[in-house]
């Protein structure tokens, strides 16, 4: 309920928010807004399951739906040294995943930007690296491209060809001196960083999180 998040009336909740804010870098208003959305998605329960997300109507047309939803339930995106997937996520986990899409701040130093870029790239990498072995193999990459084009009825052949070309490009950029017998196992994270250098992830992989919240929604509603 909207009223339950009101900071004045619920000091405990407020404290928790501050804790989240420290961890994720979101502002309190943003967290508040996201929590509202979380409640909405989870039908006012404490956790979100895959079904909850799959039921979002706007997602229905997204070719990457499965992967996006999968990323929310991936332990690797929680900044803890764990792997595997979770069945249901709480608000904290939800926030953690969302924090990957924060825009860079105006006063960030170069190092902070670099860290942010790495973090964002790692998120993408994890989305591709489904079996979590540290490399994106050809098969995994092919799957990515296939998913990407699943909305257009393009044959698998085309997707495969594109993924192969891309893979070849990675290999040739990163390992130019391969003998005919050598085998390029797959894209490591370092190589992944290398090939996406030009995309400037830190300024690109952003979503606008609403942070201006009307005061009526914050305190007035439930009193």
């Amino acid at each position: 309920m909207g009223a339950s998040q009101c900071s004045q009336t619920h000091p405990q909740k407020y404290k928790q928010y501050e804790d989240f804010a420290d961890r994720t870098g979101f502002s309190l208003e943003q967290i508040n807004n996201l929590h509202k959305r979380f409640r909405q998605l989870s039908d006012n329960t404490e956790t979100i399951s895959r079904e909850n997300l799959e039921n979002i109507p706007a997602l229905a047309n997204n070719p990457l739906r499965k992967q996006i939803i999968g990323a929310f339930f991936d332990k690797r995106n929680q900044h803890e040294e764990e792997v595997g997937s979770i069945q249901e996520i709480g608000f904290q986990q939800f926030l953690m995943v969302m924090s990957h899409f924060r825009p860079p701040g105006l006063k960030m130093t170069e190092e902070e930007k670099e860290a942010m870029r790495k973090e964002k790239l790692r998120f993408l990498f994890n989305m591709h690296d489904t079996d979590n072995d540290g490399t994106i193999t050809v098969d995994e990459y092919r799957k990515v491209v296939e998913e990407l084009m699943s909305n257009n009825d393009i044959g698998q052949e085309a997707a495969k060809a594109i993924a192969d070309a891309a893979m070849l490009e990675v290999a040739s950029i990163n390992m130019p001196h391969m003998g005919p017998d050598d085998f390029y196992e797959g894209i490591t994270f370092e190589h992944f960083e290398q090939i996406l250098k030009g995309l400037e992830m830190e300024s690109r992989m952003n979503v606008r999180f609403l942070d201006v919240d009307t005061s009526t929604m914050r305190c007035g509603k439930g009193k």
């Binding site: 959305r37 998605l41 979002i56 706007a58 997602l59 997204n62 990457l64 996006i68 969302m98 899409f101 860079p104 701040g105 105006l106 993408l124 989305m127 193999t137 050809v138 098969d139 491209v145 990407l148 084009m149 257009n152 393009i154 052949e157 085309a158 060809a161 594109i162 192969d164 070309a165 891309a166 893979m167 070849l168 490009e169 990675v170 290999a171 040739s172 950029i173 990163n174 390992m175 130019p176 001196h177 391969m178 003998g179 005919p180 017998d181 085998f183 290398q194 090939i195 996406l196 250098k197 030009g198 995309l199 300024s203 690109r204 992989m205 952003n206 979503v207 606008r208 999180f209 609403l210």
Partner: protein, 816 residues
């Protein structure tokens, strides 16, 4: 007709005769020059050679023309300069402009310090001075008609057609704020303060004290608009990052609407003398009409052009013309209603491009690109030269106070405007503008020839201060172009502003751009907040579902972007193969050192059990002789394709290698590659698992690097047989992966040139990529070793065709 060449009539007397004939000449000129000649109608009728009794005689009359003259001996040689004067002079100007551009790049050190625009203005000053010294009257070169109808459209069309749409749309809000609010602010700030200055009464009254408010504001509106031509000229040389470039450049394009409205408004008010509240309201409405109307006119013509290009598959030769003519019509139509012609052109170019590009042939695309670049660069050069000439010519009225105050106010207004607006905008931007960015945006606000032409248009009767205005405008233009234009490059270096990424888009980046689009849309949907990714996605869907079907012919309408990208890449490689000489044995044929090939990335799974071994496998190893034979056959096949493609057809372009022969070529190559692979497999089938035949590109796209080839060579010689054609073509272009294509950039696939490739190779190294391009000296060695004459030749050929992209060859025009 023989009579046409004989022109013995005296020049003066026929101007009033045969007007259709003059019109015809004018029309021819129009087609030839692609421009309307404003002065043409007046002087070109000199062309008429004989005095026909009456126009109605027509064909019959012509035969008897000669008898109407008094018999005199047939002149073997005669001079009739008037006959050709106008086109001749135009050609001279164009030639001068082109030669200057050429000469400018011949002095590399100079181009490092002084921007081209400055030098061109200096040249213009010199030329103007010479004309004046010769006692001739300086032609009114920067006449407003000439400028707005001939010189400006090519530049704007070039900018609009190759507008980077993605960054433009992503920053549209910021650009609009700068363009509209910023220009308004500048106008009123400069105009108002100038009026305030004119109110200060010094002891001796001057021109300045007779200024009224409206002329001041008018002057402010003229002087405050950032000029796209000047901005392009300077920004293309400093290679600033995409965001800043699009912000400043976008502003310079979009503020045209504001300038047009303010200009007409103030001219109108100045004539009427009074301003009512209603006038102001009408002015605001007028602004909306001008801006939106301009965009609409442009979009309509753009869609028309796209629709037309749907049906041009049988007359490929005139395809490019549609793009030009429709755009020019859009510009003229918009100008006709006093709408913003610049916005119409931009809208037209940007609307038609994706559809037209899908419809037209690859060659037409190249043609469009070259023509646009050629026209725009000549126009730009001419504009700057004319600016110099006009400075010498112009009636000046130098007023120290007015000029200094104007220059100062321009600077101050710009800085305050940018800082203030950025402070506002940053609240809404995801990626904030830093102080450095603000500085560059403020500093990049160059004024240019548009302001001058607008000032030139002023009615001297209504505006007695016209001369003073013109002088001030010229001073401001010179100040921004010279001082700011020359210092902006060192400042960019000093501040370490992020530069443009030089490398072309790789396929991985393309994949991830699309991946990100969908990912961010998905995340926005999960957040429940519909941001711009969401709407962009909706728009894309709509575009794919309806618009593309109407405007793009055939199967290509269903092609998703990634596939299109991939096809372009494939096409480029095929063309490279053809151009690099196809089957001809290259000197580097043996230098196929290490190659990353498909086999390297194939998963090392055991081949599926059902795989039927290819029949050749059962055979004993091929003998060297047989292998050579196969190779020879392959080679000659490719040769033949290439030879056939050389045949030339003026009208149909059917024998176009890049079009219809391509499929054939691809097929042949596929076959060849399959065979090749089999041969290779036969030689080392123990080491390489059978791989399914891949798409041609993949297999072909072996990327070679010849740095360590000597070491590897011996070892590899027995495994890899010398690769005759397909692969060796890559060796020529160094170790650069050939799959760099950027569909969004003006550079089309085929214009990649060797210089560029080498330079890029160098950058790769800097950026820490593992690929080692052959070093300069090393390459020379090699060329010497292996009868490098041919290679050299190719190099020269490639260099002579450096592609139209303006920033391509700026840095190192003479690499090898």
């Amino acid at each position: 007709m023989p009579s046409k060449t004989v022109s013995r009539s005296p020049a003066g007397g026929f101007i009033h005769t045969l007007h259709e004939r003059g019109l015809l000449v004018l029309l021819v000129l129009l087609v030839l020059q692609g421009t309307v000649l404003p002065l043409g109608a007046a002087s070109s009728p000199d062309h008429t050679t004989h005095q026909k009794p009456l126009d109605s005689h027509g064909e019959a009359g012509r035969g008897h023309d000669n008898i109407t003259y008094i018999k005199k001996s047939f002149p073997v040689l005669g001079i009739d300069y008037h006959h050709i004067r106008l086109p001749f002079e135009i050609s001279l100007w164009v030639l001068l402009a082109s030669l200057m551009k050429l000469g400018f790049h011949l002095i590399p050190r100079l181009s490092g310090i002084v921007p081209e625009s400055c030098l061109l203005i200096v040249v213009g000053l010199l030329v103007g001075g010479l004309i004046k010294l010769a006692g001739e009257q300086v032609p009114p070169v920067l006449d407003s008609n000439l400028f707005f109808l001939c010189l400006l459209p090519p530049i704007i069309l070039d900018a609009g057609y190759f507008l980077p749409i993605r960054p433009f749309m992503e920053n549209l809000g910021t650009i609009l704020v700068f363009a509209v609010v910023g220009t308004l602010w500048n106008t009123f700030f400069i105009g108002g303060l100038l009026y305030a200055v004119s109110l200060i009464q010094p002891g001796n009254p001057s021109d300045l004290n007779r200024l009224e408010l409206l002329p001041c504001l008018l002057f402010g509106s003229i002087i405050s608009a950032v000029d796209p031509v000047a901005v392009l000229a300077v920004f293309e040389e400093i290679h600033i990052n995409e965001l800043l470039h699009i912000l400043v450049f976008g502003e310079s394009l979009l503020n045209d609407a504001v300038t047009v409205v303010l200009y007409h408004l103030f001219v109108e008010f100045a004539a009427a003398g009074t301003v009512t509240f209603l006038d102001v309201v009408l002015g605001v409405i007028c602004f909306l009409v001008v801006a939106i109307g301009g965009v609409l006119v442009g979009a309509i013509y753009g869609i028309l052009a796209a629709f037309t290009s749907r049906f041009t598959s049988h007359t490929r030769v005139i395809e490019p013309l549609f793009v030009f003519v429709y755009s020019y019509m859009a510009y003229l139509s918009a100008e006709m209603f006093h709408l913003s012609g610049i916005m119409a052109l931009i809208a037209c170019g940007a609307t038609m491009r994706p559809y037209v590009e899908a419809n037209i042939s690859h060659k037409s695309h190249t043609t469009i690109k070259y023509f646009l670049k050629m026209w725009s660069s000549v126009s730009e050069t001419l504009i700057f030269i004319f600016l110099g000439v006009a400075t010498v010519d112009g009636p000046h009225s130098w007023n120290w106070t007015f000029v200094t105050v104007t220059v100062l106010l321009c600077l101050v207004a710009r800085v305050i405007g940018v800082v203030g607006l950025t402070f506002m905008i940053n609240n809404f931007r995801i990626v904030k503008l830093t102080t450095k960015d603000q500085f560059i945006i403020a500093y990049g606000g160059l004024r240019g020839a548009i302001a001058f032409s607008l000032g030139f248009l002023l009615d001297p009767v209504l505006f007695p201060n016209r001369k003073m205005f013109l002088t001030a405008i010229i001073t401001v233009v010179f100040f921004t172009v010279f001082v700011q234009g020359m210092t902006i490059k060192p400042l960019v270096e000093l501040l370490a502003v992020k530069k443009k990424q030089e490398a072309k888009r790789s396929i991985n980046e393309e994949i991830h751009t699309q991946f990100l689009d969908h990912l961010l849309t998905g995340i926005e949907d999960i957040c429940g907040h519909y941001g711009h990714h969401h709407w962009k996605d909706k728009l894309n869907r709509f575009n794919k579902k309806y618009v593309k079907k109407c405007l793009i012919a055939g199967e290509r309408s269903k092609e998703p972007q990634l596939i299109a990208f991939y096809h372009k890449m494939e096409m480029k490689q095929a063309i490279e193969l053809v151009e690099s000489g196809g089957g001809v044995k290259m000197p580097h044929a043996h230098a196929m050192p290490s190659a990353v090939s498909m086999q390297n990335i194939q998963p090392k799974k055991p081949p599926p059990p059902v795989v039927v071994p290819p029949p050749e496998r059962a055979l004993p190893q091929l003998s060297k002789g047989r292998e050579e034979e196969i190779r020879k056959i392959l080679r000659s096949n490719l040769m033949r394709t290439r030879l056939r493609l050389r045949s030339y057809n003026r009208h149909t372009l059917i024998a176009d290698p890049y079009e219809d022969g391509l499929g054939d070529l691809l097929l042949k190559k596929q076959k060849m590659i399959d065979l090749e692979k089999k041969i290779t497999e036969m030689n080392n089938y123990l080491t390489v698992p059978a791989s399914s035949p891949d798409s041609p590109t993949i297999t072909r796209a072996r990327l070679s690097s010849d740095t360590d080839f000597k070491a590897d060579q011996t070892q590899k010689e027995d495994i890899f047989c010398p690769d005759p054609q397909a692969y060796s073509s890559k060796a020529m272009s160094g170790s650069v992966p050939t799959i760099y294509v950027d569909p969004a950039s003006p550079q089309s696939p085929d214009s990649v040139n060797v210089t560029d490739e080498f330079r890029r190779a160098g950058q790769h190294e800097e950026r820490g990529l593992m690929m080692k391009p052959p070093s300069e000296g090393r390459r020379d060695d090699k060329e010497g070793e292996k009868e490098g004459g041919r290679d050299q030749q190719k190099l020269v050929r490639c260099l002579s065709d450096p592609g139209p992209s303006a920033d391509e060859d700026e840095d190192e025009p003479f690499l090898p």
